[in-house]
Symmetry: C2
Subunit: 391 residues, 2 copies
């Protein structure tokens, strides 16, 4: 039990907390940039934010709504130029994970020198002393990514064909406003994908080899809630209790992943959504999660057994079964085959090479020893939907 824990975000949680936005923004000044997307406009969330700002005498607001899913360095740089040229006092991110990630990155780039890509894997300096970024107020409209409480911004670079993360303590939002009301407009598919993303955040951060006891305690709480409420939220999007518990569980999983990182499932997913841009990140996770977890349970059952017992399940195979059933009931793909990816002979090897190049740092924190060769075989198992291929 040796660990470091740091999570400086000021969190306002609960139904109605959106009405805090103006009061919170006033801490930082009178001029803001709102980074948001089409759906927040459509569902009236943007209007609510703007009227609450006006109630608090903040009338000088610029809207930037050009963030794509998987935000690029180009759109971050553009947002940063707008923020810097207009000398805004704060930035509000209102949307899903992509938008929050972009808002945080825009704050850093607009407040310092250079361009977005220069901050990817920027070395961590001293924490908790006042160096500067524009304050960000993160307002999630999904329950999954946890971006509102973490230091990550995943940025794609189309020129370099790379997808990497800014991971720096400067990149925490100053404030998160987590109002479950905003997640009630998610359709079934978005509820399922963002929910399973949170599930894998918690599963991977619990099981990986890094030490962080607080994160693991939060993971257990998050997994209990997700297993209890995700299907209910999926079946009935108007269930307020389900939405509230999913927002809460996803937030805790977001705190945990920030302290402990994810794992090999996330690392193996990146080459999938990288090569097949039509594949949503969470569907890639879903198509790989079962086979990776089976591999890990075969090689290193202890941590999974411990987790299973904490969740009130019989053993590690009961946990695996639970994962599979959840995936199916959410109509998410359980394999790359179901995802429609047609294997050619070389594909597993090529994907495994990609993981080696971009996600190697997940190898040594995996609960069980794992090599490039074994990753290739796991891809193969998922591509052929044949668990007997899992080494």
């Amino acid at each position: 039990m040796v660990f470091n824990y740091y999570m400086p975000v000021d969190i306002y949680f609960g139904y109605g907390s959106l009405s805090k936005v103006g009061e919170v923004a006033r801490r930082f000044g009178f001029k803001g940039l709102i980074v948001t997307g089409k759906s927040s406009k459509k569902h009236g969330y943007l209007d609510k934010v703007i009227s609450n700002l006006i109630l608090n005498n903040i009338r000088d607001v610029i809207i930037y709504d050009e963030i794509e899913p998987n935000p690029t360095d180009i759109s971050v740089n553009k947002g940063a130029r707008i923020a810097a040229e207009n000398k805004v006092d704060f930035i509000i991110g209102l949307g899903g994970g992509s938008i929050l990630d972009a808002a945080k990155a825009i704050a850093i780039v607009s407040s310092n020198e250079g361009f977005a890509w220069e901050y990817v894997f920027y070395p961590e300096g001293p924490k908790s002393i006042p160096y500067y970024t524009r304050p960000v107020i993160a307002i999630p409209t999904t329950a999954g990514t946890g971006s509102e409480v973490n230091k990550y911004s995943v940025i794609s670079n189309p020129n370099r064909k790379e997808k990497l993360a800014i991971a720096h303590s400067l990149n925490y939002p100053k404030v998160a406003i987590v109002d479950p009301e905003l997640t009630m407009s998610m359709d079934k598919n978005l509820t399922a994908t963002t929910g399973i993303d949170a599930f894998y955040h918690a599963l991977e951060s619990y099981t990986n080899r890094l030490n962080n006891h607080i994160a693991e305690d939060l993971d257990v709480i998050a997994l209990k809630l997700i297993l209890k409420w995700l299907e209910i939220a999926y079946e009935d999007g108007t269930n307020k209790e389900a939405r509230e518990n999913m927002s809460y569980g996803a937030m805790l999983a977001g705190i945990a992943i920030d302290q402990k990182r994810a794992g090999i499932i996330h690392a193996m997913e990146h080459p999938i959504s990288g090569r097949y841009p039509q594949v949503a990140h969470a569907k890639g996770l879903s198509a790989l999660g079962y086979y990776v977890t089976l591999y890990n349970i075969k090689r290193a059952p202890e941590k999974y057994r411990k987790l299973a017992l904490e969740l009130g399940l019989k053993d590690e195979y009961h946990l695996l079964e639970t994962l599979k059933n959840l995936t199916k009931r959410l109509s998410l793909p359980i394999s790359l085959k179901e995802l429609g990816i047609v294997p050619d002979e070389d594909l597993p090897r090529i994907l495994a090479e990609d993981v080696y190049f971009t996600g190697r740092n997940a190898f040594n924190i995996n609960p069980a020893e794992i090599t490039e060769k074994e990753i290739e075989l796991i891809y193969k198992a998922s591509l052929f939907e044949d668990e007997s291929l899992v080494p």
Copy 2:
């Protein structure tokens, strides 16, 4: 489930984490004030801190060791003058709760205008924006107060005969180094009193009427650990696992109490240790906790039942029984009578009046309705060790 959560302390937890102190201090500068006490000198902790600072090229260190238990505004002001005159870059608090509370207060007073007492109940300004206090590195040598992760400094004012708290977001330590090794020199009595303090932090913050779901989740974890490990640490102070789990549980309870405040047990204790300075705070809590909890369980059983079930106990009366047994096995007083306080006829009324004047804000967050009259009767029950007097 509507709440605000903010806990910006950068935590290093675990055996050996004391060796981080130099590296951490270097974030803040080259000149420090160490606020500490006799026992940290005696057990060699101060020497360890100083040599680790020297390893990191910090040679300019001033020691201030004049903090009494229940620190006064006078000794805080004196420490603040030393910090300001020497223009130190950071302050290290190394000791129990009194010393950490004092170190935090010294940082604020030395960095701003005025004197300690002016900061008691100083109004909260905007959080999470950079206003200034000297950075504090809090290193607890007990497992109980949680001062390392909260914004409270309890200060006594002997001239005014008052004991009040600085409670301000400026008052969080920047860094907490929680090394269970430092708690291993605690004797049985100190292990018991600091441990029961953590127990009541968790019990009161869980059950009071304020909302904070994260705090309550942490309280449950803390109570499970304290119920499992406190007696073991008490019986065998060299049990490393017990010490580690107590440091961890007390820290979580400290985070929780910071978010949700304590309750009427703490409010009723203050007049006791105020009137009878020989009574340690935790013994006062212990002498009142059973009777207050009985009162609350009779009037508002739901929250206690929920907690009991989360802890794997049968019901709320099983929880009360568990509390009583724990108190007895730690050789702590279960009543004011056992504490040796001789009742005269007016005493219960006088104590209840004191609570009304100094702890009234705990009334309306108590799980059950409570009035000054009922508080008087609870005092009486504890003074005569007669639970039939509990209204």
